[in-house]
C-alpha cells in the first residue's frame, strides 16, 4: 500500500501533503504532550508489527494493521502513522519522501474512519464486537486500496486498470487482516479493554 516515488503527479502529491498535514495537526491537537510517550511506543509497536509477515498460500504478506491502530488511537493515528512511515523511509528506504503525505493519508484516513465507525461497535459484546473487528480490518485495507487507486487514477486516467489490479491484489490481504484484527480485538478485550477504542486520546 505504499506508493513509491516517481508515479504520482504534482497536484496529487501536494494534495497528499496538505491532507496529511491537516490530519496530523488534528491528531497532534488531541495528543497531549504527556500522551506522546504512549503514542510513540505504540508507533514503535506498530512499526515492529508491520514487519511481521504472515503466510498466505505459497507466499507471505506483510500486515498493514491500520484498522487496529485506528481503533486504539483515533485521530492520533495520523501523526503516529506519519512517523512510522518516515522511519520506514529512513531505515529501510521503503516508501518515499514526495509520497510521504499521500501514503500517510492512504493508511491513516481509513484508520480514523475505523475509529468512528467501528470504535463504538467493538465496545459491545463479543457477538457484535468480533464481526465488527473483522469488518474493521478488512474495510481499512479496502479503503486504503481505494485511495491508492484514486491517487493513481487522478494522476493519470490511464492508470485506471492498474488501480483495479492493485485493488484486486489486496483482496486476500483484506481477509487476513480482518481475521487478525478480529482475534486481536478479542485479545485486547480480554486482557486490556481500556486500550480500545482510544477514547483517552480523543480529548478535544
Amino acid at each position: 500500500m505504499h506508493i513509491s516515488e516517481g508515479i504520482l503527479s504534482g497536484p496529487v502529491l501536494v494534495s497528499g501533503i496538505a491532507l496529511a498535514a491537516a490530519g496530523t495537526a488534528i491528531g497532534l491537537r488531541k495528543l497531549d504532550v504527556d500522551r506522546i510517550p504512549r503514542a510513540a511506543i505504540l508507533s514503535a509497536a506498530f512499526f515492529a508489527a508491520s514487519l511481521v509477515h504472515v503466510p498466505i498460500g505459497a507466499s507471505s504478506v506483510h500486515l498493514i494493521l491500520n484498522g487496529i491502530v485506528g481503533l486504539i488511537l483515533g485521530w492520533g493515528a495520523f501523526p503516529v502513522i506519519l512517523v512510522a512511515l518516515a522511519l520506514q523511509a529512513v531505515l529501510f528506504q521503503f516508501g518515499g519522501i514526495t509520497t510521504l503525505g499521500v501514503n500517510t493519508v492512504i493508511m491513516a484516513f481509513p484508520a480514523v474512519v475505523s475509529y468512528y465507525v467501528f470504535g463504538p461497535l467493538v465496545r459491545r459484546r463479543p457477538e457484535i464486537a468480533l464481526p465488527a473487528a473483522f469488518a474493521c480490518g478488512a474495510a481499512s485495507v479496502f479503503l486504503g486500496a481505494i485511495l491508492v487507486g484514486l491517487a493513481l487514477t487522478l494522476t493519470e486516467k490511464n492508470f485506471l486498470k492498474v488501480s483495479a489490479i492493485v485493488a484486486a491484489a489486496h483482496i486476500p490481504v483484506m481477509i487476513i487482516e480482518g481475521i487478525i484484527t478480529a482475534f486481536c480485538v478479542a485479545f485486547l478485550k480480554k486482557v486490556q479493554p481500556e486500550i480500545l477504542p482510544g477514547n483517552e486520546i480523543d480529548r478535544a
Partner: protein, 250 residues
C-alpha cells in the same frame, strides 16, 4: 534485525549540515518526481550516482536497499505497458504492450532509483537523532519531533520484544501456515506487543516526569552552517535549477 549501515561513514556528505541535506533531498525529489523529459531524468540519475560516489557508501548495501523498491517497479513493468492505452508495440498472447506504457514504466524506474539513491546518500547517512534535532531547528512542531525521536528509540526494543514472544511460539512447535490457528497466534503476539508497549509507555513516562520532563525537547546537538555547506548549497542549487530549466523551459 533493523540495521543502519550507512551512518558511520566519513565522507564529505557525512560532514554536511543535516538541515541542508534535508532541504536538498526534498527539492531534488520533487524536481525529479515531476519531470518527464528523459534528458532531465538521466541527468538526475547521474547526479544521484555522483552523490553515492562521494558518500563512499558500501555499494552492496546500497544495492540491497534498491531491491525492495525495484520489486514493486518490476510489478509495474508487467502491468502498466499492457494496460496503458497507446500505439501497440508487440503482443504477448492476449495482451498488447504499448509504447506509451513502456515509456511510463521507464520513467518511473529512473525516478524511483534516482530519488532513492539520493535519499540514501544524503539522509540515510545521518542518525535519526540528528535528523530529529535538525527538523526541530527547522521549526517542525515539537510534538512531532518528540514523537519521531521516541518512536525511533523504541523500535528496536519493540522488535526484540516481538521476537522473544515469537520465540516462545517457535519453542512450542509453532509453524506458520495458512490456517486460523496461525492467524490467531499472530494476532495474539501482536496484541501482547501492544499491551506490553502500553505498560512500558507508562513506566517510561513516569521516569521522564521524575527527571523533570515538561514537554520541551532539548538536544545536545548543535548545528552550524559552514563555508563548505555554502559551497554545496550553491552547487546543488545550480544543478537543480539547471534540471528545472531543462524540464520546463522550451
Amino acid at each position: 534485525m533493523i540495521q543502519e549501515p550507512f551512518v558511520c561513514g566519513d565522507s564529505q556528505i557525512h560532514r554536511l549540515d543535516p538541515r541542508f541535506r534535508i532541504v536538498v533531498v526534498a527539492a531534488y525529489a520533487f524536481v525529479v518526481a515531476l519531470s518527464d523529459r528523459f534528458s532531465v531524468l538521466f541527468l538526475g540519475l547521474a547526479f544521484s550516482f555522483v552523490l553515492i560516489g562521494i558518500s563512499r557508501l558500501p555499494l552492496f548495501e546500497v544495492a540491497k536497499r534498491l531491491l525492495l523498491v525495484n520489486g514493486f517497479v518490476l510489478f509495474l513493468w508487467f502491468v502498466v505497458p499492457v494496460t496503458f492505452p497507446g500505439t501497440p508495440l508487440f503482443h504477448l498472447g492476449p495482451l498488447t504492450a504499448t509504447g506509451e506504457g513502456l515509456l511510463v514504466s521507464a520513467r518511473i524506474t529512473i525516478k524511483s532509483n534516482a530519488i532513492l539513491l539520493t535519499f540514501i546518500a544524503m539522509i540515510a547517512t545521518s542518525r535519526v537523532a540528528t535528523l530529529g534535532a535538525a527538523l526541530s531547528r527547522m521549526r517542525v512542531p515539537e510534538k512531532i519531533v518528540l514523537l519521531l525521536l521516541m518512536s525511533y528509540r523504541y523500535i528496536f526494543v519493540m522488535e526484540t520484544e516481538y521476537h522473544r514472544l515469537a520465540r516462545s511460539a517457535t519453542v512450542r512447535g509453532f509453524r506458520p501456515s495458512t490456517s486460523i490457528h496461525t492467524y490467531r497466534t499472530y494476532a495474539y503476539l501482536i496484541g501482547m506487543l501492544f499491551v506490553r508497549a502500553q505498560a512500558r509507555a507508562e513506566r517510561v513516562y513516569m521516569a521522564m516526569l521524575c527527571r523533570g520532563f515538561s514537554g520541551k525537547f532539548h538536544s545536545l546537538q548543535e548545528f552550524s552552517f559552514s563555508r563548505k555547506d555554502g559551497f554545496w548549497a550553491g552547487c546543488t542549487t545550480i544543478a537543480l535549477l539547471g534540471l528545472g530549466v531543462l524540464e520546463w523551459m522550451d
